[in-house]
Symmetry: C2
Subunit: 197 residues, 2 copies
Amino acid sequence: MNGSVIAELVFHLGRIATGDGLVEGLTAAQWAALRYFDQANRFSRTPSAFAAFHATTRGTASQTIKSLETQGYLTRMRSENDRRSVRLVLTDKARGILANDPLESLSRAADSLPPSIQGHFADALQRMLSQVSQEQGKPRFGTCTSCQHLEHNGCSRQHQATYACGFTREPLLLEELDGVCINFIPGKPVTMKSPVT
Amino acid sequence: MNGSVIAELVFHLGRIATGDGLVEGLTAAQWAALRYFDQANRFSRTPSAFAAFHATTRGTASQTIKSLETQGYLTRMRSENDRRSVRLVLTDKARGILANDPLESLSRAADSLPPSIQGHFADALQRMLSQVSQEQGKPRFGTCTSCQHLEHNGCSRQHQATYACGFTREPLLLEELDGVCINFIPGKPVTMKSPVT
DNA sequence: CAATATAGTTTCTAGACACTACTATATTTA
DNA sequence: TAAATATAGTAGTGTCTAGAAACTATATTG
């Protein structure tokens, strides 16, 4: 088994799945942006972070975002802390069309894999992505749950245990821990998310 | 485990892996064409077949091929049977640079996966690709070894057993059975290629 | 033989993207 | 604290990808 076969398949599959034909008139780059801002946490919903994620320049990212804004899919607000910075949030209209993401076709195909291997599959992809990103000197994105920066204060047996990010020195809400972050540093080995009881 | 996570990863990984920066001055489309013509069998080394494979238009494919030709990576020859048709073959120069395919980075990442899962991984990708292609009404590409059209005449215990394609009605050489074909129809369930003794 | 289908090319246009300024705000340092 | 430097973001320009439509040449069909 040769790695180049797998590489070819991943590349080709990614290509095929999106070429379907610009659902709802959005381009591939615009879909990628919508998906990103849907999943990014509050530290990462900026043009620069999207540019880093999408492996493009800030200029290009800015254009993509501008067009989404004029189409009513994103709204912008300036950050209070840093007045250079801009935060972007999805509109309801955007959340609506995310249901017919052109990736849906690929997503269904993934769903129809044997459930027993889906986890391993996602894991393998994640690992490959991490390695490729590192080789190319690009930042790795990930969620708090496996990030070195995650700190949690408070007793674990109290349900009011609080979390914080050691990098931004900001408190984190429980529901924020699943957002994708640009400041991610792979710390703990990937842990299964413990079931919330 | 949600299929959309896997879909996102496949898409993103495919994107990241190629953005590295146009090794040797070729574009992503041109690399894809070189890879294709390297692997396609003799029925499929045409502009139209590449267009179908790459999910693009014949016009776009024509341009990609033209530029590769002028750069000395492909040579063209008209088919004898059908004088409209064109056959493309890689030059030695092309075979040379295929060694620094920008997908190499992704390929290495795939190689470093646990060997025990590489097979399952490739299998899963293949299955997803097949399903997506079918949903989108695009032709599926594959090799003779699992194609309905493959016929083999002659006694199997004779080493001179001959193969033929039932679709093109043409004989096939043993070494041609591994070429990717546009006329592929998934027949037999994917069989392990039996070791040649 | 006429109508239609197919292989391939060309031309035109929109959009993606890199590059190079450029502005505005932060941060560093001297 | 003032100056130098760094960072977030935008704007404009040029190149390339890719789709759409029009076109030529050859095959196939009725």
